[in-house]
Amino acid sequence: MAEEEAEEQQRFSYQQRLRAAVHYTVAALCQEVASDKGMPFSKQSVAAVSEVTFRQCENFAKDLEMFARHARRSTINTEDVKLLARRSNSLLKYITEKSEEIAQFNTEQKAKKKKKLEEGNKTLEAAEVVESES
């Protein structure tokens, strides 16, 4: 029983730390927006936004897990994220664009790696050949 309580407390403190981190980020963003639009944010509103963000993150996490399980996967995929974001059109567009970018980047990376590998192999082979020859 005491262990459970200790666990709970640990979890709770962990949550609090996360909340604090989220709050910090949200405050930074709000600061940017405020300076952009020229209208300051009250502290309560910032706190409200950060709390809402935190709770939404929890929901998102649960949903993502559900989606992944629905597709019989054990890893959360970009597809799951897109499914999550489909409600908001602009967000969905943004995410799809980003995912395409990332995909491209990945393919490029792979291509580079392949080239490197090939070059490495070639040099190795050349070295071997040279060695064998000599």
Partner: protein, 505 residues
């Protein structure tokens, strides 16, 4: 013994019957009669609290009391009587014999032992004519009732006379068979009970009439019309998009309620109703069958709950679930009578019509004919060709409304307040969007799992997102809470005999 079963008190038919029924519980007619007869005889001889020590205390007690009254009768009769001593036979005996002896000469009742078989038949015949119950065993009856009535005849007579008067006056009487055992009164009461007509259960609330008949005809005609229209329109494509594309533009941001893609969707929704599409929907049928069947009763059950809370958007409330189920079932139950079964395959056809881009609506046209040849569809079919297509938007809008008309009416019914028509229209609009949204989600979920069919898992996921199914409350719990038994067994796998599990997983 002081449990009210004092042997000295006049054992009325009621008490005797009670005793008999109590004893009958512990007995089964299967038991060897000899034992019973033997025990009964011993009880007859020594009715005393000693019997309590026997296995069944109460029954023994009652036996003793009962036997006291019985003891006046012939032993043979008792044994004979007891041989058939099931509650039914005993009750029959009481019913038969009690009336005869009471009203008639009481003295003859006192000597039931020697002459019951002789005396009874004539009396019985007199009453038998009026009796509608053709009971098989009338011979052994005798015994109990006369003996009883000998004691309680005074009371009974009074009751009987009054009763009989009432009967003669033709007052409707509920059957009080053994207690008010009157000779002819009883039989006549029996007659009465048999004769009283069952009052037809009228629909007290016309508002609850679920299917306004006019709607059907309009539906089919209009929907068939739209069927043609949609076959030409490029609609529906927006619905079949994969996740990446943005079909929700029109749904979410379009303020006009009946723009093209919406139109394309809902008519196909509704037109597929009375037209069971037999092509390539068999697996979807099976998949969706459970769903629709579960949703149909879910409609009836959940309506009161979710309705007041039915918001237009996907919210985390029972309303959404009920509304979902209500919508699916309503859409499918719209033409329930002619196409009761067609509803579920029609539901199935709906999803593939969304998901499968190549499923051409014209396919549905020939198939509707056999399906729609039921009842009211025929005159509508005749009407269909001459209707001009130029009346485009009008008939297109109708199916939206007619499908949700039912819901709007229910809404107004449960609102307990009069509603403006404009409000009802808004409600319909919101419901329309809500259901489209919901079905979109379902389609997307199915596609997410790499399927083209919407399966119950997709629905469970949807309900999870709605917050109806949580870690604490599983889908099965909700099914058990809200669905009637017949639908529950369709959803929750149940093991039946022969090692078969239904529904097959």
């Amino acid at each position: 013994m002081a449990d009210g079963y004092s042997p000295n008190s006049e054992p009325t038919t009621r008490t005797l019957l009670r005793r008999v029924l109590d004893t009958a519980d512990s007995r089964s007619p299967r038991r060897p009669r000899s034992i019973r007869a033997g025990t009964q005889r011993t009880l007859l001889e020594t009715p005393s609290p000693r019997r309590r020590s026997s296995q069944r205390k109460s029954t023994a007690r009652r036996h003793s009391h009962g036997t006291r009254s019985v003891s006046r009768l012939a032993h043979t009769q008792a044994s004979r009587h007891l041989d058939e001593q099931t509650p039914r036979t005993l009750l029959k005996n009481i019913l038969l014999t009690a009336p005869e002896s009471s009203v008639l000469v009481p003295k003859s009742v006192v000597k039931p032992a020697p002459a019951p078989p002789v005396v009874q038949p004539p009396r019985r015949e007199s009453s038998r004519g009026s009796l509608e119950l053709q009971l098989p065993e009338l011979e052994p009856t005798t015994s109990l009732a006369p003996g009883l009535l000998a004691h309680g005849r005074r009371k009974q007579r009074l009751r009987l006379s009054v009763f009989q008067q009432e009967v003669d006056q033709g007052l409707p009487l509920s059957q009080e068979p053994p207690e008010t055992a009157g000779a002819s009164s009883l039989t006549s009461s029996l007659n009465l009970t048999f004769a009283t007509p069952v009052q037809p259960q009228s629909v007290k609330r016309p508002g609850l009439a679920r299917r306004p008949p006019t709607r059907r005809a309009v539906d089919v005609g209009v929907l068939l019309q739209d069927l043609r229209d949609t076959s030409l329109a490029p609609s529906g494509n927006s619905l079949r998009t994969p996740v990446a594309t943005v079909p929700t533009d029109t749904v979410l941001e379009d303020t006009q309620p009946f723009s093209q893609p919406l139109v394309g969707r809902s008519p196909s929704v509704h037109h597929s109703l009375p037209h069971p599409s037999h092509n390539e929907t068999e697996d979807t049928e099976k998949a969706v069958d459970h769903w629709t069947q579960s949703s149909q009763p879910g409609l009836q059950n959940d309506k009161p709950h979710p309705w007041p809370a039915a918001p237009p958007e996907v919210t985390e409330s029972m309303g959404s679930q009920g509304a979902v189920e209500a919508e699916e079932s309503d859409v499918s139950s719209g033409d329930e009578d002619p196409s009761g079964r067609a509803a579920s395959p029609a539901m199935a056809s709906r999803t593939p019509s969304f998901l499968q881009a190549e499923q051409p609506p014209p396919f549905l046209e020939p198939t509707p004919r056999p399906g729609a040849a039921v009842v009211s569809s025929e005159p509508v079919l005749a009407r269909r060709p001459p209707r001009p297509r130029a009346a485009g938007p009008r008939p297109r809008q109708d199916p939206h409304k007619t499908g949700l008309n039912h819901y709007a009416k229910l809404f107004s019914f449960y609102a307990k307040m009069p509603m403006e028509k404009a409000a009802l229209e808004v409600v319909e609009k919101c419901l329309d969007k809500y259901f489209q949204h919901l079905c979109n989600d379902l389609e997307v979920f199915a596609a997410h799992a790499g399927r083209k069919t919407v399966r119950p898992e997709d629905l469970e996921l949807l309900m999870r997102r709605q917050g109806l199914v949580t870690d604490q409350v599983s889908l099965h719990v909700l099914v058990e809470r809200h669905l009637p038994l017949e639908y529950r067994q369709l959803l929750i796998p149940c093991a039946f005999s022969g090692n078969s599990v239904f529904p097959a997983q």
